[in-house]
């Protein structure tokens, strides 16, 4: 149970700056997900919190205590590794007991705590087995049990589900979420899987090239991406970004895409003429067969039936967009459809900086 404060931490590997003065506060008992593509620095940040890497600059506080220069064993952390890092030469029981033995825990307490952790992860019956005799899913449970038994102030997880096959991952995700709700430890969870991040995190910190692009609750990150990178990374399919223009004339301004004016109000803070990117999710666009005021024509290129909906890839001017429609929407390749964006769902991004200017009104 502890708050983690990361204060302008910089980590450099040779010529590569993995973390560019990252600051982040993780509240007590919060489940924070670090999300980003590979090489964005999320694992490095986690390892800095663990004490497996030491930052060149900045401070790290756990529970108000400055641990920047402390080794991992003095940080009250426990970590689940991507490869699980279960000790091959020890039985499941000895793996889980390893940390408690290092703390010289009395034998009766040790046995009670190890048994309880093994029970919690439903691996009690495997206690005498060696890791080589376990499946990937079971090894992952051993790794989590070995971390939880320490009753750490902070639980760190580095892509703990990425080595499981798809079906098992789905099941393990829900289990892990329930488990962590029970133990209520401050948790930092690294993943590159945006679905995992959305479904598990109290908050998500999206990282990009050694910086944190956005920290917010999952729905907010999904609805209001701070820049086009976040919008493009989160969601499947990613957010559409279409070139548009805001044109003001005599107080009445309009947003146009490819010369077609949209039927959406222009936020007051946008005045004059400027290039923008319109960010909109596939499910926030309605496709209709007949033109209506404020709709934009598009040519259908690909139709993908996905069971719950159809995913259309359409061409708007010279750009591609994804549109989700009902499964009974009558459409064939090369048809022309008309796109009607849902009111309140368009986000406007600056064409140069790619950062959020404003939502539509």
């Amino acid at each position: 149970m502890a708050e983690i404060r990361i204060d302008s931490v910089r980590k450099v590997f040779g010529k590569f700056t993995a973390l560019k003065d990252v600051s982040l506060t993780i509240h007590d008992r919060e489940f924070m997900v670090l999300l980003g593509p590979s090489g964005c620095g999320k694992t490095t940040l986690l390892r800095c919190i663990a004490g497996l890497e030491y930052p060149e600059r900045g401070r790290i506080l756990i529970g108000g205590r400055d641990v920047t220069d402390e080794p991992p064993r003095r940080r009250q952390i426990a970590m689940v590794f991507q490869s699980y890092a279960v000790f091959p030469h020890l039985t499941v029981y000895d793996n889980i007991a390893f940390g408690l033995r290092m703390q010289k825990t009395p034998a009766d307490t040790l046995k009670r705590r190890v048994d309880r952790a093994a029970e919690l992860m439903q691996i009690g019956h495997l206690a005498e087995r060696y890791p080589a005799q376990l499946s990937g899913g079971q090894r992952q449970r051993v790794a989590v049990a070995r971390a939880l038994v320490m009753e750490p102030a902070v639980l760190l997880m580095d892509e703990p589900l990425s080595n499981l096959d798809a079906l098992l991952r789905l099941q393990a995700r829900a289990e892990l979420k329930r488990l962590l709700q029970e133990v209520q430890t401050t948790t930092v969870y690294v993943t590159h899987d945006q679905v995992e991040a959305m479904s598990m995190g109290d908050r998500i910190a999206v990282m990009q090239a050694g910086e944190i692009a956005q920290v917010d609750v999952p729905t907010q990150v999904y609805d209001d991406p701070m820049n086009t990178f976040v919008g493009g990374f989160i969601g499947s399919p990613p957010m559409n970004f279409l070139k548009g223009m805001v044109q003001g004339s005599n107080g009445a301004s309009a947003i146009t895409v490819g010369g077609h004016a949209l039927n959406v109000p222009v936020p007051a803070k946008l005045t004059g003429q400027r290039d923008v990117l319109l960010g909109i999710r596939a499910e926030s666009i309605e496709a209709i067969k007949e033109p209506q005021p404020g709709s934009v024509p598009a040519r259908v290129l690909v139709i993908e039936p996905l069971g719950s909906h159809l995913l259309l890839t359409v061409q708007v001017g010279d750009e591609l967009a994804k549109v989700a429609t009902r499964t009974d929407f009558p459409v064939a390749p090369d048809d022309t459809v008309y796109l009607q964006p849902e009111a309140g769902k368009i986000r406007l991004y600056d064409a140069q900086s790619k950062t959020l200017v404003t939502r539509d009104a």
């Binding site: 663990a50 004490g51 497996l52 080794p71 991992p72 064993r73 952390i77 426990a78 970590m79 590794f81 991507q82 490869s83 890092a85 000790f87 091959p88 030469h89 390893f98 940390g99 290092m102 703390q103 070995r146 320490m150 760190l156």
Partner: protein, 285 residues
């Protein structure tokens, strides 16, 4: 149709014939190489367990017709042989311990840490083997006389350690590279300091491979003749003793000595065979 199909029908047959031929070639090569290694050892063994006069009979029969431990008894009973055997074992164990104490940590450092000059250091280790022991041993003997190490088992053990170290360092570095770094990091997060993480996780996992490398050192020391001959006078190791008496001894004595030297080495190599293959064939788990 038929003309188009014909080459398709012929090709697999040709291919399989070619494959069979190359198989035969491969196995023939294996047989020749194996015979090349095994025939001398076999002949030595046969000679060592034949009666003395049987050695001088020609033509030799491939299968020994008489078994006799007489020759071996004569060899083992000769003056100095038992002492020399004891010396050989002591020197071998000392060389093994020294090379492990120096080589394993050096290998660990090479496997785990990136430091300036790491690659050149690796090359340098190998170049120590480029100096023939023949050239080194005379100055070595002079120094050992000055240091009081001449004609001692420690002196020979040191020389053998120096000979074994390059292999020990490189092999143990490859063993430690096979032990995942994350395992040690997991130990660090579970309350270990660096030394404890090494002792409790990396070392136990590397132990089988390290043991194989240690036995390798022992065999090297057991078989080493030159340094042992130059650096000792009375405290001879077994190969040095056999070597020094070779010219004055009867043929059956040489065969018995040869067998006595070859046999333990063979057994050790058989024991560690699995690990050597594991080391060079794939990553040690």
């Amino acid at each position: 149709m038929t003309t188009a199909e014909m080459p398709l029908n012929i090709e697999p047959a040709q291919r399989s014939r070619r494959r069979t031929l190359s198989r035969i070639g491969l196995y023939a090569g294996i047989v020749v190489l194996t015979l090349f290694m095994i025939v001398p050892i076999y002949l030595i063994a046969v000679a060592a367990f034949s009666p003395r006069d049987a050695i001088y009979t020609y033509p030799k029969s491939v299968i020994p017709n008489q078994f006799s431990a007489e020759t071996m008894q004569f060899f083992v009973g000769s003056r100095g042989v038992l002492d020399a055997t004891r010396n050989s074992v002591i020197v071998g164990v000392l060389a093994l311990l020294l090379s492990m104490l120096i080589g394993a940590p050096a290998g660990y450092a090479l496997a785990r840490f990136i430091f300036p000059g790491r690659d050149s250091f690796k090359m340098l280790i190998l170049t120590t083997r480029a100096f023939p022991i023949v050239i080194l041993s005379i100055p070595l003997a002079v120094n050992f006389i000055q240091w009081g190490l001449y004609d001692t088992l420690w002196g020979v053990a040191l020389a053998h350690t120096a000979l074994a170290l390059p292999v020990t360092i490189l092999v143990s570095s490859s063993i430690f590279m096979g032990v995942s770094r994350e395992l040690e990091e997991a130990a660090l997060t579970l309350g270990c300091n660096r030394l404890q993480a090494f002792m409790r996780v990396a070392l136990p996992l590397a132990l089988p491979g390290l043991a194989a490398s240690a036995i390798f050192t022992f065999v090297l020391s057991w078989n080493e003749v030159f340094a042992a001959t130059i650096l000792t006078l009375r405290n001879r190791t077994l190969p040095a003793l056999v070597m020094s008496q070779l010219n004055d001894s009867p043929l059956y004595f040489r065969f018995a000595g040869g067998f006595f030297l070859v046999f333990p080495a063979l057994i050790f190599i058989f024991i560690i065979r699995k690990y050597l293959l594991g080391m060079w064939g794939q990553v040690v788990k």
